[in-house]
Symmetry: C2
Subunit: 317 residues, 2 copies
């Protein structure tokens, strides 16, 4: 591997400093370089995952509310991000919590699926640099056009980079203009194989989309506002990995869904750990649908969302 002498020195510096607990000047003396270089190498070591510093996300799974939500909704893990305290901006906090929680759940050799959206991109952005070995990051849904700087392939690529993993992108548009073309493309071996491989993921990360006029699908032109409204009247309540789902979290039977290139919901349900991250309060109904539909096993939400979900389950269902 790294016959690079510099890499070697970075490793040595990191080893002496972090594992042996030497001071930087001692490390410098050992390696016959200046202390300033040691400081620089150590920064590089942290940035490249040679050294990993991780904080337990227990803080957010600790409360009574989290436990109640797990029990009530039958989830395997719940992280609750407080909004009340003057502490920190919750908008900035949630992606960090999600990134930490997600990273904790990954083991070496895992294949992880990543969907797309503002939320997922924010998570990618604060994902810690770690050096997991043999991890593969696969893209769960096709790509969207230009207007966004958080396209599906970028989420995948960035997360793969941070985890020192292989990133596998899905080179296809998310939505095509005809069902025939979509079907034909889905039949292409490259695409077919990649989509088939999704059910062998051990972990997936996604958010859920709404069907309002400002939803991604409308904003990027995949559907017009009018079409979306019509679909809403027909029962659509949210978007999962680019596909419309109804109130029970089942795939809508509509032309749009047949024009989408993306993981099918069955494959997603087959993934053992399905981590859903929801930032906005407005996504309540889509979230409820996704949970009903078995698309969520691990959940990251705000305190208020957690309360709403709990109320809903205790009264409604």
């Amino acid at each position: 591997m790294a016959i690079r002498p510099v890499e070697q020195t970075i490793h040595k510096a990191a080893w002496l400093y972090y594992t042996h607990g030497m001071r930087q000047d001692e490390v410098a003396k050992h390696l016959n370089i200046s202390r300033a270089s040691v400081a620089m190498y150590l920064r590089k070591a942290r940035e490249t995952g040679i050294v990993t510093i991780s904080t337990s996300s227990q803080l957010f799974t600790d409360g009574v509310l989290a436990r109640e939500l797990e029990d009530a909704l039958g989830l395997d893990g719940v992280w609750i991000v407080p909004e009340d305290r003057s502490a920190l901006d919750p908008a900035a906090e949630m992606p960090t919590v999600a990134a930490t929680a997600f990273t904790e759940k990954i083991s070496r050799g895992d294949r992880v699926g990543v969907a797309w959206g503002r939320t997922v991109y924010h998570i990618a952005d604060v994902m810690p640099y770690v050096d997991l070995q043999d991890v593969t990051v696969v893209q769960l849904c096709g790509n969207l056009g230009a207007p966004y700087n958080y396209r599906p392939d970028q989420c995948t690529t960035e997360i793969a980079r941070r985890l020192n993993a292989e990133g596998i992108n899905l080179y296809a548009p998310l939505v095509l203009s005809s069902e025939e073309l979509a079907a034909a493309l889905m039949d292409e071996p490259v695409i077919r194989e990649q989509l088939a491989s999704i059910s062998s993921c051990s972990l997936a990360l996604y958010s859920v989309g709404g069907i309002e006029d400002d939803s991604h699908l409308v904003k990027c032109g995949a559907l017009s506002a009018a079409e979306m409204q019509a679909l809403g009247r027909a029962g659509a309540v949210g978007v999962m990995a680019g596909r419309l789902i109804d109130a029970d979290g089942q795939l809508m039977d509509c032309s749009y869904n047949r024009r989408v290139i993306s993981a099918d919901l069955g494959s997603i349900r087959a993934i053992p750990k399905r981590m859903m991250v929801v930032e906005q309060a407005a996504k309540f109904l889509p979230l409820v649908a996704a949970i009903r539909g078995g698309l969520v096993s691990h959940l990251v939400v705000t305190t208020s969302m957690a309360r709403r979900l709990l109320d809903h389950w205790n009264t409604g269902a």
Copy 2:
């Protein structure tokens, strides 16, 4: 869980400092405590595994020699600790490398087996504090009497403590004075179950013992020097988890071995990752035997030992 307000504060401080990258004085302001307290909390967080700082052990698996040894002996992982460079005391280095490598191999939910010896105790002593969840550490062999401060149960307990894991000790002597008593004890449900559970470990850590007059078994009186010499003439070359093995790494057929309470070699071979750590050059022959006998999948040795092994395999076998 931790309703302890102090623990909570430690978590928060660690989160803000390590995950958000705040300075200590900023953290202090946020939590309304002094910066000195923050510094103290952070130390505690590191010591208890709330934050984990780990350095990749790649440095030691990188060389050509390590790769050659893997190929030649059919091992799954080799770490080589250099002695030559004026760098560091290799005696102090090897346990650190082993501890790091071992920790990297553990995943949550794993059951790990730990044997005993000076080497294993040194490893326990520098094992990093990490907060793996649902890990169980089981003792692979019975206990020895007083003269040692690195008894099997202490190795197990210490490693369990560092990993925040459950430690399961084997409450039985390593060697009994009659075969009958040993057989009866092995038949006790508690003992039998624990020994049976060993083959479900996913990971084991041990060293190999020699049969010289200064070996543990002789020094603690389990065997007299004369008996050991006789067994050596009969073909014994080393000690694995308290049992004598021959040059092929097979269990010796002798009374002593029938008086030992310990994991049997079959169970050990069934463990997917068997990490062997050898510090002393004198353990060459026992090590060769253990490798031959399929008792090693991951190996931590010095450069010179690695060379000797490679020579031996290229010429001899």
